[in-house]
Symmetry: C2
Subunit: 241 residues, 2 copies
Amino acid sequence: MAKSNRIVLYDLVLDSGCTISPFVWRTKYALKHKGFDIEPVPGGFTGIKERTGGRSERLPVIVDDGEWVLDSWKIAEYLDAKYPDRPMLFEGESMKVLTRFIDQWLWRTAIRVWIRCYILDYHDLSMPQDHAYVRESRQRILGGGTLEEIQAGREQRLPLVPPALEPLRDLLKMTRWLGGDHPNYADYCILAVFLWTASVAKIPPLHDDDPLREYIDRGFDLYGGLGRHPGMHNLFGLPKP
Amino acid sequence: MAKSNRIVLYDLVLDSGCTISPFVWRTKYALKHKGFDIEPVPGGFTGIKERTGGRSERLPVIVDDGEWVLDSWKIAEYLDAKYPDRPMLFEGESMKVLTRFIDQWLWRTAIRVWIRCYILDYHDLSMPQDHAYVRESRQRILGGGTLEEIQAGREQRLPLVPPALEPLRDLLKMTRWLGGDHPNYADYCILAVFLWTASVAKIPPLHDDDPLREYIDRGFDLYGGLGRHPGMHNLFGLPKP
């Protein structure tokens, strides 16, 4: 049992203080799901290794009673293993496998397009000291061209995503949460994609009347509005073709 | 507890005696997973209502100690609820939700194309007394044209499916079964798609060196080679482009 009810979370934030990383987002939800208070250590893209005492170059990282745990998936498994008396994030091995499938599906379907639609917003919203790193690393990861060139023409590409999300809409007709009656880590993985998007999307990616809206809003409202940071942008309002 | 270890299964078979329905296939695997012997009642597409005493127009149907249970998904839930002391098909509610997602994904990705590539084979392999029904109903369901017209040009369409199965290949790099260390109903849903295909595919839909082959073969070999009826066709051997 934790000595206190607080767990330290190394966060990855934009200049507004809003979390950007989808991996940190799902870890925030996981910690609240397990009933912990979060003691955030804010910071941007640069200096992660220094902030974590050389332990990690990536976030999230948590520290629980002096124990450091790295990687969002491993953190979720750690929390279930160490605190099995609290609500479980995972249901079992099969649910873990199938969560990876739907999560990867959503990344292929949405993030793969959206990253190229919001990469300049992502840069502009990051902390000033992160600008050079974000520009250089993202231009390299996305295969060349400037961030301005990559993002250009997004009005033509954004309408491709909503129709491709139909399988998720179909699924959510049958159930309130991917966890069943209550959300679990499968929901937090899916919500993290939309949380990431809302953190950077200066123009909305989804239509006003998207049936996903009810699920997304319900997810953002969990745990006292965990997904409602003032730095977040509106996901809904993409013009109809 | 069942009075005997046998459960009656109303099967849906081709002229060879090979099961065709993917829903019957997954029920066969579910019954064997729970450790039951199957007492099959064979039959084709026509006369289902008469064979089941007016109880169902669709198969599978099982009869367990005089209790009739309809619909493959409900049969699986019934088996877990009635026989919780035997190996479980489902892990919990979240795994059920996520199984529906990957199953629907595979239908959209593979069956939607393959049904139009094999519909004439499907007709030709069915029992002679089923030919008229299969032709009429499938031409209607598939939106018109003759079965010959629908199937024509399949050599151009078949190569579209293997690349689209990459997300399943990626998942199976991480785990032996969708159930984790052992197969469960998520695996039987996925295997049922390939079992259906092998029951009707006079030319193969997958390449010889497809990494899915090991998983599919391992699944077909379960329970003493349950998927190895002599009426099945080879899934592997699609020419490379």
